[in-house]
């Protein structure tokens, strides 16, 4: 059974129903095959884009859906529950639009955002490098000033939608100091931009992940987003929001694993009873349900802070940590509930388990999340009792 949800408005409820419909009719039937054959579902993103689902958290005036994170994240969760690669892709797309929306000039925003948010274009986000993942300030990709433009040289690792995206939001070094990093919006057809063959991953095989190579890629100054040196701050701020997206997708994935496990446990019989009637099994399922519900509550708590303009970075890290660790646990348990069948590729739960693993790794490993949370504890967490400003 899909999750029970309480939405803030009738339109948000209709939106979630729409997402469920399109997920069941368009995404679910295609997911297993595309994952098995490692085929990127570009057309699925177009379908979602035309429905207005690729720009939900951004304002209407720039082509978005103007929905609060509380709603947007639940859309991601529903998408993640039928196809994690698509859920992650929608989240990454939103992430790749963040810098332009946050720091772009009015002219830049008007020029590019409507197409980016309108669904025809798909975005990618280039921060990590082969030697610099958790420590992005150690990046080496350079953007050298050259007349009225910049020349980008270097390589960006782990680029979701690499080779498939229409635009790349790229962080590159514009000085030698550690934080001298700037943000650039690079079109996919820029000369000198190429992608390596996709990584051969354990999961999310329908999604393309590549190293992007910048061999003297020239972009105009008008494609620098924000001031020189502002890039790292933008990149990390985007990740605070991106982490919430991953938390939501992971929760959807866990929900899907739970749903399969429950359906199987109600059907499969041992010793003359359905296995859900054996307390040992029912307790496993109960713990899975508790893990999914607490994951959802955790990301929604962070989302509601963000929606009210309150600090939410620590809560986003907690949500990313809790939701993805819970997804790993729930998907692993789902394989256990299905026993030998769960371990085969004839049932989707082994795929869910493989997909869950990466969620503990990307957009800040869960060790990095713990580091963020630990630092916040050291500084002293807020004990304020606040009235809802909304």
């Amino acid at each position: 059974m899909p999750a029970r949800r309480l939405m803030p408005t009738p339109e948000a409820a209709d939106l979630l129903q729409l997402v469920r419909d399109v997920s069941a009719k368009e995404l679910l039937p295609a997911a297993a095959d595309a994952e098995a054959t490692e085929r990127f579902p570009r057309e699925s993103f177009r379908t979602l884009g035309r429905m207005g689902l690729l720009g939900l958290p951004y304002p209407e005036k720039v082509g978005g859906g103007e929905q609060p994170y509380e709603v947007y994240l639940q859309v991601l969760e529903e998408l993640g529950s039928v196809w994690a690669s698509v859920g992650v892709g929608v989240s990454v797309h939103a992430l790749s639009c963040f810098a332009l929306f946050t720091a772009g000039t009015e002219e830049q925003r008007q020029r590019w955002l409507p197409e980016m948010l309108g669904g025809e274009l798909l975005g990618a986000y280039c921060l990590s490098e082969p030697h610099a993942g958790s420590d992005p300030a150690a990046m080496r990709t350079r953007a050298e000033r050259d007349g009225d433009g910049y020349v980008l040289t270097g390589a960006k690792a782990w680029t979701t939608h690499g080779g498939q995206a229409d635009f790349y939001t790229v962080m590159a070094r514009t000085g030698d100091e550690r934080g001298a990093i700037s943000c650039f919006l690079v079109p996919a057809d820029a000369e000198g931009l190429s992608s390596d063959a996709p990584e051969r991953k354990m999961g999310l095989t329908g999604s393309s992940t590549t190293t992007m190579r910048f061999d003297g890629v020239r972009v105009g100054v008008d494609r620098r987003i924000g001031a020189e040196g502002q890039g790292l701050r933008l990149a990390l701020a985007a990740l605070d929001s991106g982490r919430l997206g991953i938390a939501a997708v992971a929760t959807g994935l866990a929900q899907a694993a739970l749903d399969h496990a429950v359906a199987y446990a109600k059907d499969r019989e041992t010793f003359g009873r359905r296995i859900i009637d054996h307390q040992g099994l029912a307790f496993v399922l109960a713990d899975m349900e508790a893990a999914v519900q607490s994951a959802r509550a955790t990301y929604l708590a962070a989302a509601r802070l963000r929606d009210r303009g309150l600090p939410f970075a620590t809560e986003a890290s907690v949500a990313k940590l809790v939701c993805t660790d819970n997804a790993m646990k729930v998907t692993t348990d789902a394989v256990q509930v299905l026993g030998g069948y769960g371990y085969t590729r004839d049932f989707p739960v082994e795929r869910f388990m493989r997909e869950a693993k990466v969620m503990q790794i990307f957009e800040g490993t869960n060790q990095i999340q713990r580091m963020v949370i630990g630092r916040a504890l050291d500084k002293g967490t807020s004990a304020r009792i606040e009235a809802d400003p909304a």
Binding site: P10, E11, L15, L18, D21, R50, L53, G65
Partner: protein, 264 residues
């Protein structure tokens, strides 16, 4: 050009469907939605409007439904898809109406609306009789072009293709007319999120039988020619029969099975 599209709010086929004590469908205690077959009617209405574009003057698609309070959800879905306004005929006296009584209420409602074309689905997904479009055309005194799998409009001439079991026929009608479309007429669009937001502002009127000048005695279970006498739950699924071909008798066993079930 004024298009009226008639839609029905039906119980969700994926949920548990129940009957009331009088054997009418429980429409309030279950999740309902816009009948999937009527989505095709909405789609064709919207496509006609789009094809007419600005050349067709101000084309307008009005969604018409009859049903309890929840039936407004069916209207809302059609408005989200792109229809312009809705009319909801709601009156307790209508409950239990058969196709004949339903067509009366629909006809009276259509008469109150400007209409060049009345579009219906091929049948409902609950009652499934598929006779309302023909009854509606009779009551309105308009030509009925029913069961269209492709639809063209050329000026005042409506032309449809009807695929039968033995022949495909082309039916032409002059507007104003009643049209019904099949599930082969083209997949219905999904609403967009903008459509969902826009639907909030679209007008929906609620009419009673009195507004239509229909006497309560002409509709409802009592006035209906047909009624469901009895319902039975579908028997639980059985395990089925596995045919094994250990001694070469498998093919014969399969044929015998198909013959016994009258498949061949």
């Amino acid at each position: 050009m004024n298009i009226v599209v008639c839609v029905k709010y039906v119980p969700d086929a994926t949920g548990d469907r129940k009957f009331e004590s009088d054997n009418t469908v429980d429409r309030e205690g279950v999740d309902g939605l816009l009948s999937e077959l009527d989505e095709y009617a909405v789609e064709q209405s919207l496509q006609l409007k789009e094809k007419l574009g600005s050349d067709g003057g101000d084309s307008e698609v009005t969604v018409l439904t009859i049903g309890p309070a929840g039936a407004v959800d069916a209207i809302r879905k059609a408005l989200q898809m792109g229809a312009d306004k809705g009319v909801h005929v709601q009156d307790d006296a209508i409950a239990g109406s058969d196709a004949f009584a339903t067509s009366l209420v629909l006809a009276e409602a259509v008469k109150k609306l400007p209409h060049d074309l009345v579009v219906c689905g091929m049948a409902s997904t609950d009652g499934g009789m598929g006779v309302v479009p023909a009854m509606l055309s009779e009551r309105l005194g308009l030509p009925g072009a029913t069961l269209g799998s492709s639809i063209e409009l050329d000026g005042q001439t409506l032309k449809i293709r009807r695929d039968g079991d033995t022949a495909t026929v082309t039916v032409e009608a002059t507007l104003p007319a009643v049209l019904s479309v099949t599930d082969q007429s083209g997949e219905a669009r999904y609403p967009s999120f903008k459509g969902i937001m826009a639907a909030k502002k679209k007008p929906v009127e609620t009419w009673s039988l009195a507004d239509l000048g229909v006497d309560a005695g002409q509709v409802g279970l009592e006035a209906s020619y047909t009624a469901v006498e009895e319902t039975q739950a579908r028997p639980p699924r059985t395990a089925g029969e596995i045919v094994k071909d250990e001694d070469g008798s498998g093919a014969k066993a399969l044929v015998d099975f198909l013959v016994s079930k009258k498949f061949v």
